[in-house]
Subunit: 257 residues, 2 copies
């Protein structure tokens, strides 16, 4: 048996991969292979602020610092990176059954991004709706021992995170700010998928962009752009002031999954 541990695709049929293409002029074992990891950046909207789900590292390197949920892709079982991101999220935070698919942001491959060995990471992000929060531990104020918690993005500093995750978070946050409108991101933060209120969308937009936007103008713009239609009912009272109407978006209902 070769010393390689690369898995041949058709192992039972033709033998190891070297047998499959004996005339291949190059041999993948001649190249070192990196470890391949994924990171998952889960965002939510909480009390008007954009928050991110982080885990506290229990061991070196960067013991005690915070990091994205993530881990190695299970190559042996032919897992793709997106599946790995979902699986690692569940294993490390208990969050399962995402309603939509995470979006690939970028792949980081600097040789020194992990102090131990050459590791590359593909970073995914996902904007989580309120009804998906259930499995995530609530943040406890001042409880540093919590291993998993939401952090307001605005409160995270460079020294708080391990590896290059602060840099990644900054790049990702800039991406969200710049593309909130084009990528329809407010819809992905708002509860109940296709039924929502205009103030909810407005709050999500402001949280994503860190900018103040005139509510009335925003309502008009979003109604026109997404062909929103009032769908009956009002947000249950209890708050102060006039309750908001519910809206739906027929045409692009599934585009916000």
């Amino acid at each position: 048996m070769a010393t390689t541990n690369i898995i041949p695709v058709k192992q039972g049929k033709k033998g190891t991969y070297l047998d499959l293409y004996p005339e291949s002029s190059y041999d993948p074992t001649a190249f070192e292979r990196p470890t391949y990891a994924v990171d998952m950046a889960i965002f939510r909207l909480f009390e008007g602020q954009l928050e991110i789900l982080l885990i506290k590292r229990g061991q070196d390197p960067f013991k005690g610092r915070w990091a994205f949920p993530g881990g190695f892709v299970d190559i042996r079982n032919r897992e793709c990176s997106e599946q790995a991101a979902v699986r690692e999220l569940k294993e490390e935070t208990g969050v399962a059954d995402l309603k939509g698919t995470p979006t690939q942001f970028h792949t980081f491959s600097d040789a020194n991004r992990d102090p131990r060995w050459y590791n590359i990471s593909t970073v995914y992000y996902y904007l989580m709706r309120e009804e998906e929060w259930t499995r995530v531990p609530a943040p406890k104020e001042g409880d540093d021992a919590a291993e998993v918690r939401w952090w307001p993005v605005s409160k995270i500093t460079k020294g708080k995170m391990g590896f290059d995750h602060y840099t990644i978070l900054t790049l990702l946050h800039m991406h969200l700010m710049a593309n909130a409108w084009e990528l329809s991101l407010p819809f992905k933060l708002v509860p109940k998928r296709s039924v929502f209120t205009l103030p909810e969308l407005h709050e999500a937009y402001e949280a994503l962009t860190s900018a103040k936007v005139d509510a009335g103008n925003f309502y008009k713009a979003v109604k026109k752009r997404y062909m929103l239609r009032r769908c009956g009912g009002k947000k249950a009272a209890g708050g102060v002031g006039r309750p908001a109407d519910y809206y739906t978006s027929d045409g692009v209902r599934d585009a916000f999954a």
Copy 2:
């Protein structure tokens, strides 16, 4: 010596990576590692058409089909993926000394994208200016034996390309069409970096978006948005009709590198 061939970062100092973190609860060698490759999509504007630089595969799999230049990242020498994309481009096509940096598009990690083993690829793209074409063989009509040549993007069909490269090209082409204006892509296709004419930009824009755009309106828009300034001189005569003025963009001169 361990059976792993992962390179410890501080080899001479403390030994192998396992010695560095003996209490680590996880061991990267417990995970299979993928081969890690890059693909480079080089575009140019030629006779009003968007073209891409492809190589013809000389061996299986997909012998005789066309593919992006690319290859394995040299992990052993701590090369990052962007460096690898530039190096492989040079090795496979002779194109060297890119004036700007390639842009990362996406990382593909489906287990079956390479029929031989689990391979992931990070795809980069680069829009090439006319003065960088010199090392690239000119296309020969009907010469199927050429190993490296430019192909008009519009003439590429699914069966012509190997691996999943046609899918990748389609996704990438859609990305370029959708973001030509926002990403200032026409500037990256146009000769001489910061000195250009408005018709050149217009032609580049139409080639990128596959759409007809009123030239006059485009001139006005681009001059305003990029604060273009007429910088003297006119395009050398020889063509028919009025020669175009040269423009420059002070404020964002280096943004188009």
